[in-house]
Symmetry: C2
Subunit: 199 residues, 2 copies
């Protein structure tokens, strides 16, 4: 199996984390998230969206979008409930992640720490921080009364939201006012088979 | 069942379209997508994300995020395959929709046609059109060789992407150069039980 991967991308890290916890091996091809000029050449036939992660299964079939890849491998394992409502809730949080969290928390981190053009962050600072803190507020209120995002057990919904939340400080977010999120981050790290984003 | 709904929202229309095709009845509560000042009061306890659609099931449990709601009702029906790879592909297109399509195609339409402040569209015009056309390009290349997005049959992936693509002209997108998309739009409309966004 082949993962088109970026070491710094939280979206790619989601896949690496789940596959590590499932004990599934794979090879990687590094794709730059800064210089995107060769994306069509590398990924054009595999994923018209031209994004990483893109995975090529053992039989050659491609699969893209981090949270779709998580679902494919987690279904039937302890990382995704069998209960229809819990499954829909996991998807609810994963769509929340891609629409309301990643475009602020991940983009702020990318622009500030990895783009080589931190002035782009400064230009969009207000909107990025406002959107990111709104997403963190929603997570905090939910986690105040729960150990994990869905059905009180660790699942791919937690993996999806852990990926960029645990490095939110790199995008200038301060989690000091988010005790429930910080406790949850600790519970995610304590899961068997956890690997860090730079491992 | 109670749907917190906006008549003009494509995300809400996705849910109305699938429930019509499944023959499932529900009541609606109208929520403004322009004046959002009462969102926390209306939706706070149901969906910390404060977005529509939010659905309250017959037993009182809430579910949010349009594509998660689609999944919940489609699973086990003809609108979602039983095949693990096809299911993951459906999710791939639904995450593509929320990350790479909706933030451009839907936002352009909202700002231009529904926000009451079309000057906001003009200010972001270049970025909205560039992102939206990139998403339409990816769909066009995929649909050039396929009748539907996944496994050559109509599914919730088609519903998810139909919702805003069929009204893309309201956001100043021109589909003249997208013959595969236009043919696919026609195939979606021809499905049994189809309802329009304003019905």
């Amino acid at each position: 199996m082949l993962l088109y991967n970026s070491a710094v991308s939280g979206n790619c890290y989601k896949v690496r984390l789940l596959l590590a916890q499932l004990g599934i091996g794979y090879e990687t091809v590094d794709v730059s998230v800064v210089d995107r000029s060769n994306r069509a050449e590398i990924l054009g036939e595999l994923n018209h969206g031209l994004r990483v992660p893109t995975l090529v299964l053992d039989d050659g079939r491609p699969l893209a979008e981090s949270n779709a890849i998580l679902w494919y491998f987690a279904d039937g394992t302890a990382y995704l409930s069998e209960d229809p409502y819990a499954r829909a809730q996991a998807l609810q949080w994963m769509f929340f992640e891609q629409y309301s969290h990643e475009p602020y928390v991940a983009v702020a981190r990318f622009l500030l720490a990895y783009s080589g053009q931190p002035e782009l962050f400064e230009r969009r600072r207000e909107r990025l921080l406002e959107g990111g803190y709104a997403a963190l507020d929603a997570m905090e209120r939910h986690l105040e009364r729960r150990a994990f995002l869905v059905a009180d057990r660790y699942s791919i919904a937690d993996i999806a939201l852990y990926a960029y939340t645990h490095v939110a400080d790199e995008g200038d977010f301060d989690l000091a006012g988010y005790p429930a999120i910080r406790a949850w981050l600790g519970r995610v790290v304590a899961q068997p088979g956890h690997v860090t984003i730079d491992s």
